[in-house]
Subunit: 250 residues, 4 copies
Amino acid sequence: MIRVAVVGARGRMGSHVVEAVRSASDMELTESLDAGDDIKQISKDNTDVVVEFTVPAVSLGNVLALIEQGVDVVVGTTGWDDDKLEQVREALSHAPRADQAVFIAPNFAISAVLADYFAAKAAKYFESAEVIELHHPDKVDAPSGTALHTARAIAQARQEAGMPAMPDNTQSDGGSRGQVVDGVHVHAVRLRGLNAHEEVLLGNAGEQLSIRADSFDRISFMPGVLLAVRTLAGGGHAGLTVGLDAFLDL
Amino acid sequence: MIRVAVVGARGRMGSHVVEAVRSASDMELTESLDAGDDIKQISKDNTDVVVEFTVPAVSLGNVLALIEQGVDVVVGTTGWDDDKLEQVREALSHAPRADQAVFIAPNFAISAVLADYFAAKAAKYFESAEVIELHHPDKVDAPSGTALHTARAIAQARQEAGMPAMPDNTQSDGGSRGQVVDGVHVHAVRLRGLNAHEEVLLGNAGEQLSIRADSFDRISFMPGVLLAVRTLAGGGHAGLTVGLDAFLDL
Amino acid sequence: MIRVAVVGARGRMGSHVVEAVRSASDMELTESLDAGDDIKQISKDNTDVVVEFTVPAVSLGNVLALIEQGVDVVVGTTGWDDDKLEQVREALSHAPRADQAVFIAPNFAISAVLADYFAAKAAKYFESAEVIELHHPDKVDAPSGTALHTARAIAQARQEAGMPAMPDNTQSDGGSRGQVVDGVHVHAVRLRGLNAHEEVLLGNAGEQLSIRADSFDRISFMPGVLLAVRTLAGGGHAGLTVGLDAFLDL
Amino acid sequence: MIRVAVVGARGRMGSHVVEAVRSASDMELTESLDAGDDIKQISKDNTDVVVEFTVPAVSLGNVLALIEQGVDVVVGTTGWDDDKLEQVREALSHAPRADQAVFIAPNFAISAVLADYFAAKAAKYFESAEVIELHHPDKVDAPSGTALHTARAIAQARQEAGMPAMPDNTQSDGGSRGQVVDGVHVHAVRLRGLNAHEEVLLGNAGEQLSIRADSFDRISFMPGVLLAVRTLAGGGHAGLTVGLDAFLDL
C-alpha cells in the first residue's frame, strides 16, 4: 500500500487527485492539505509520496519543505524555470533520505506526452510535418506550450538527421500558413466546445501519418499522476526528474 | 443517348473527361478536339453538350464559338471574371437556339461543393467556426480559393443571422491563429502526400460539427462533370449558370 | 421575455436547462418543478413554454397535464412510440388554446441533427457511404439510435434516387464489416474517454466527404432546447412536431 | 554510389522503384529485369543491392538465384511463409559473401509501419483500444493483414502488462461492434475513393490518442524501399531480416 498525501487538495486538479488516490486499490490517502494547513503534518512516518498541485507562487516553497520532511514528491503545478529546478536539485542533494525523489511534469496527459514523443520519433522519416493545436476560446496564449514543444522536437529531429527544409512553394499568403517555429508550421484553432487537442501531420509522397491527442477533461491527467506516484514509490529514481516520458516504457 | 464532345481532350482534365464520357452508358463521344483542331467541327448536328477544359487564355473564345455553333457547353477551365461572364451572357442572348445553356463551375468535386454548402447552412447555429485547408506543397497560393469562398459564406451567414463575433480570448500569438477572412480564421497546411482537402470545424459548448472534403485525384471531378452534362441535356437551364450547387438537389 | 418553466428541474438534463434559461437574456424562469411538485402550479397565467426532461414513465402524464394547463411544451424525455404520440395529438385537438404546440425531439444536439440531415442530402451523390458511431463503453446498445436513423435515411435517399447497391468485393470477413442496416454498413466503437460521436463517410472515385458530430457533454443539448423554446414562443407551430430539423432553416 | 538492380522492373511496383532509384542522388541503376530476362546478368561485379518486386510464384526462385550471385536483396513481393523463409536462411548460410543480406517486408509504407509500432507501444497505457481500417471496395479480404497485425500487437502488449479486458457494457448489437481479434475490436470500412488507411483509437477517462496511417498511392512505398537499400548497402545486417521496423531508429 502506497501512502499518498495531496497538497492543494481542494483545487481543481487536487480534488481529482484525492478521488483518484481513494479509488486506487494500491494506495491509501494519508493527508489532504490546502492553503492554511501546516505542510509539516506530512512526514516520512505517515507518507511515502506527496502529490503537489497548487499555484506557481507557493509550489517551490512546498516542494522544498516536503524534501525536508523526507518524502518523495510528484509536482503538477506549472511555472518551473531553470532557477527553481536548480533549487530543488540543491535541496535534494542534502535530503534526509539518500534516495529521495522529486518528479515534475508540465503535462500529465499520457495521450499528449505520447503524441509529442511519437511525433519526434517519426519526424526524420517524412518530408513534411506540421502541427495543429485546437483549444477552447478562453485560452489566452497561442500556440499552446505543448505545440511549441512538439514543433521544436520535430525540428531538432530533422536537424540531427541532416534533413533539408520542408517543401513549400507558397508564393503568397495572408497569414494562413500559421506560425513558423524552427521551420515547423504551427496552427492554432480556437473553438467553443473543445478543450485541449493537438494533431501532428507528417507526409511523404503518397502517404500521411497523423498523430492526435485529445484531452476532453482534466480527469485525463489522473492516469499519469498515479503512474508517477507508483514509479517513485517503486524506487530507483533518486533526484529530480522532469517530464512524464521519463517514466514511460518507450 | 447524349451526344458529347470534348474540347481540350488531350489535357490532364480533358483526357479524364474523354474516358468518363466513354464509360457512361447514357452518353456517346462525338468529337475530341485539342489545340490546332477546328472547333467548328462541333455543331448541333453532331453534338448536344460540349465539355470545355482548356486554359484561361483560350477558353472564352472557345465558349463564344461553341455558342454560335448552337450547342450547350459545360466549362471547367478556370480564370473567369465578371467581364468574361458578361460576354458569355451577351452571346447567349442571341444564340441560335432559344434555350441554349452554358454552365461554368470553379470546382466540380461534389464533396467540395457540398462541404462548402453545408458549412454555410450550419454556420448560424454555432458560436465558433474555423476553416483548415490542406494541400500538396507545390501549390503557390494560400489559402485556397475554395477555403476563401467557404470562409466568406460562413461570415455572410453569421452576419445575416445577426450573430456577434466569435469568442476568442487570445492575447498573444505569433501568427499561429492564421488568416482572418471576414472574421473567420483560415489555416493552410502544406504537406507532401496530400492533394486538395478542406475541413470546416463548427463548435458550441459541448459539441462540434466537422465537415471535411478530400480530393485525392482529379478523377474526383468526373461525377460533377457528368452531372452537369446530364443536367444541361435534360433542358430547362437556358442561359448562364455558375457553380455546381445550382444543379444539386439541396 | 419568454416565460419558461422546467419540469424535471433537478435531473441531469433539467438542471442544465434551468441554468441555460437563467442565462438567456430573452427568457425568465417561472417554475422549477421535480418529482413531488404539483404540475398545476404551471399555467398560461405564469408560463409560455415548459421544458419537460423527466423519465419515460411519467413524461406522457406530464405532457397531457401541461396541455390542459394551456401552455406550450418542449419535451426532451425519450421513450416515445406511435401510441403515446397519438395521445398527445388527441389531447392537443381539444386544448384550451387553438394554437397550442408540443415539440418532442429524440436528440437536441444541433451537430448531430445537422450531421444526420446533411448525410441524407449528400447520399445520392456518392457511390459509397458508411456510418461509424463512437461512444463511451458504458452504453448498453450498439449501434446508437442516431446511427440507425442516419443509416436508414442514407438508404432511403439512395433508393429514391434509384441507385444500385454500394460496391463491395469483400469475399471473407469475420465480422469486421459491421452491421448492415438497409444496405448501409454501420460500425460501433466503444472507447473510454469518449461520450457520443458519429461520423458518416461518403466516397466517389478520387474523393471523400466526411461529416462528423461530436457531443462531448450534455450541455451540448442546450442550444437546441433554447431554439425550440424560442420557436414555440414565436408561434405558428400549433399541434405536435417531432424532430429538431423541423425547426432548423435548412 | 550504391549500385542497384531491379527485378520485376516493368511491374506496377517495380516501375516505381526504377524511377525512385534513378532519382536518388546516392544510387545508380545497373539492371532492370523482368519476366524472360536472365537473372544472372546481375552479379556482385555490377550490383550491390537488388530490389525484387515480382509475384509470389517466382519470388523465392529469384531470391535464391540472387543469393548465389553474391548480391544483397530487398524483397517487396508478398506471400512468404515460414517454409520459404527457412529456405532463404539456409541459402544465406552458404552464400558467396559472409556478410550477405536479404531483407523482406510485408509493408514498405513508413506511415503504416510506424502506426503499427506506436500503437503497440502505447497500448498498455490506455483502458480501451480499437482498430479501424478503411480500403477501396475492390479489396477481397477484410480486415486487412495490417489491421490484424496491429490488433494482435495491441493484445500482446496488454497481456504482457497484465491488463484486464477492455470495458464494454454492450448488451445487444447486430454485428456493429466488429470483429474481435484477441480481445481487440477491428472494424473494416470499404469506400470508393479510398486506397489503404488504418486508424488506431486508444482511450482513457477524459483523453484519446489517435494514430492514423494513410496510403494514398503505391508511391508511398518508395521511401521505405530506398531506406532498405541504403541500410543493406551500409552493411551490418548479414542474414535474413523481416519487417521494416527493424531498420527504423525507434
